[in-house]
Symmetry: C2
Subunit: 471 residues, 2 copies
Amino acid sequence: MNEMTFQIRTEGDSCLYEQIYGHIKGEIRSGKLLSGERLPSTRSLAEYLQVARSTVDCAYGQLLSEGYIESRPYKGYFVCPIEELLQLDSGLSALENRQAAVGAMPGGREEPYRIDFSPYDIDMSGFPFSVWKKITKNILTDANSDLFAKGEGQGDYSLRQTISRYLHSARGVECRPEQIIVGAGNDFLLLLLEKILGRDVRIAMENPTYKRSYRIFRSFAYPIVTVDMDECGMRADRLEQADVRAAYVMPSHQFPMGTVMPIGRRMELLKWADGGSDRYLIEDDYDSEFRFRGKPIPALQASDRHGRVIYMGSFSKAIAPAIRVSFMVLPKPLLEIYERECSFYSCTVSRIDQSILNVFIGEGYFERHLNKMRKIYRGKHELLLECLGELREEFAIAGENAGLHLLLTSKRGIPEGELLERAAGRQVRVYGLSESSVEEASGGAAVLLGFGGLTDEEIREGTALLKEAWL
Amino acid sequence: MNEMTFQIRTEGDSCLYEQIYGHIKGEIRSGKLLSGERLPSTRSLAEYLQVARSTVDCAYGQLLSEGYIESRPYKGYFVCPIEELLQLDSGLSALENRQAAVGAMPGGREEPYRIDFSPYDIDMSGFPFSVWKKITKNILTDANSDLFAKGEGQGDYSLRQTISRYLHSARGVECRPEQIIVGAGNDFLLLLLEKILGRDVRIAMENPTYKRSYRIFRSFAYPIVTVDMDECGMRADRLEQADVRAAYVMPSHQFPMGTVMPIGRRMELLKWADGGSDRYLIEDDYDSEFRFRGKPIPALQASDRHGRVIYMGSFSKAIAPAIRVSFMVLPKPLLEIYERECSFYSCTVSRIDQSILNVFIGEGYFERHLNKMRKIYRGKHELLLECLGELREEFAIAGENAGLHLLLTSKRGIPEGELLERAAGRQVRVYGLSESSVEEASGGAAVLLGFGGLTDEEIREGTALLKEAWL
């Protein structure tokens, strides 16, 4: 290593250790320091740079632990073999740039947002941390080695019993534990469902819809037919002509429109499904727990008399995204296929996590948590409505009954892009409805305002900024 | 409910509470007690049956918690609506019977096995329970709510860094954390890999092979071509004419044959893969940690210079099956496809579990655990070889260098079925090689003896019984 090329800015704002570490790492990654090359000893580099030897030690330690260099006893430090790393660098830089851009503002601005009205965030301050910790501790205390052994592919029977009881009482879902498949997230369960339904299933989706599910079906190469919505949700009368085998719906609270599907439309959907021996409705009940007005509406599955509904639910929204436990309730014909062809797939949730959740639900903590969160979200929901104030004259507001976001449509027809940009100008992030659109940009004038992850103060500040931006 | 039909055998061997519970449950499931029907009050039933009221309370409580009955305030107990349950019963009974049969002996015997030489079991007594508990506790203590938020789709970067360092030092695998996808089990990762590789990938597998992977590829409807093995493993010279795009191999320790692939054959495989722009080797390194003789052999991926190897590993065998953490290292071209088309898939491992594992590996506990287990397994391995004694004259033994099972082939050609049956006659379970065979029954004379899950005493007893059975 040519020590002369190494300059440190002692007056800079990054510390000496970081400068040394960063410099050497850069030299290795750019190929200037080659594999096997010997680095100067920490003593000599410290003398040369006129810094404490411990500073160089720290930098080398970090490089060592990241695998850039290796130490050989009695010989010193050497650059690790990294041919593969170099080859990769070019390919990965695009990825890294893209990741960095995720948080960036429209128009490529680097400024961070002050307030992010994300419809995907939830309030983690309400997480029952001490309860979770206590249950975990008890389970690890009581646990025999059984818990660390392999469990059933569908998930532990006791957890499935608990989920089936919960679904029955909270959502009116009728199912036996045998019908439930527990999995680490909806994505995994959809991958499994693909194996059950088979290839090339023509599937209907609402437009706009939940984009993640759309991407997943597209990754299955399922032909996707979008079916328009009206104020009751997906237009069931369009399904026949759409010639689909399955329809993906969110009857309790459609994302992003917020529509709650009335019983009449539900019956129409079920009638369509009954009209063919191989038709199914995939019900994504993703945030049914959070309904603020009126009584909870039972799941579509609760009205299903002929086994046409595949019910999907998750604890990610209700407890925490990190609780990777979702479940799917299979109707009898699909359960038979699962049993025959897919039951060898291992469960993706560890038995420890299953046990924690089982206790959390079974001992009533989940219900208490939901009641608490419903109250918190109702408060935020009302605060947001109240804070919107004059904006309510300029915007039509939808989705007021449930869930963690509102849908605002400009009555004057200000285009979505302009709404986003003007909000971004005040460092506020709102979400365009077209992001959820399956077809090309809708050219609409609507935005989503999520409030789940915001504090009361942020809701007040954010809406004040939006008024400045939009009025 | 006709109380007169209700007879209890007070002298029977199941307790009163269970009899009452079982009787009512049976009446509901068989449809004799209908939905909505009122049950007698606990007092009147207790009087009628001449048992303590608390006994009836217990039975009702259980039925309540299993969802068979419901209580209505001031009205009593009623049978829950269970039309769907009844419909399901017939369909599910087949499943239940099948599940019950899993543990049954060949020939339909009901007797349990005394000793099970399962090649899939591991020793859970060595699980570092207190360390795991301590780490979990520390993580839940230090944790801010971040840990409960959603993480990166590929898995937390810090865990991927730790895995990449571990793979580099332990397996010679060269990869950046960016190439690693963390997932809850190999099954999930293979589902993801299908999305990356695409449909209808013609794939070569060794025959015999690991049956679970075979079933998974079959569930993808991948055309599977079996390629014969010789003493070096998969015959690379057959790949060209097999006209496949991918080959699934276990070079470190082939399951079930136990073959360790020498460097020459590895090079032949890599050469085959280099011969097409779209050819890949899927390396399943499932139990490379447990090698008892000689130095560890680096992974096939370590010799891969052109990004043709997809490396798969798991902590299920090395730590515990319940630790649902596997990982896959993607070569550059596939990483690009993943990034473009699959990166929206959420990670299936909770961030808490990722953090526990990260500390477990990063702070050296994993290495210590592996050293400990290697010693334990080496001991069992040597004990088994020693205990086989005279059986070594009658059987050829393979797979002596690594892993948790041996392969015994009868020199006198006693057919596999007979070996299994004679062992079962002494209540010992051994595993036929043909179970791992992809094609129809091989008609061979070889069995697998796993020792991972057995105690020393069980190994001694099991081998003594096998001598009685086979000599």
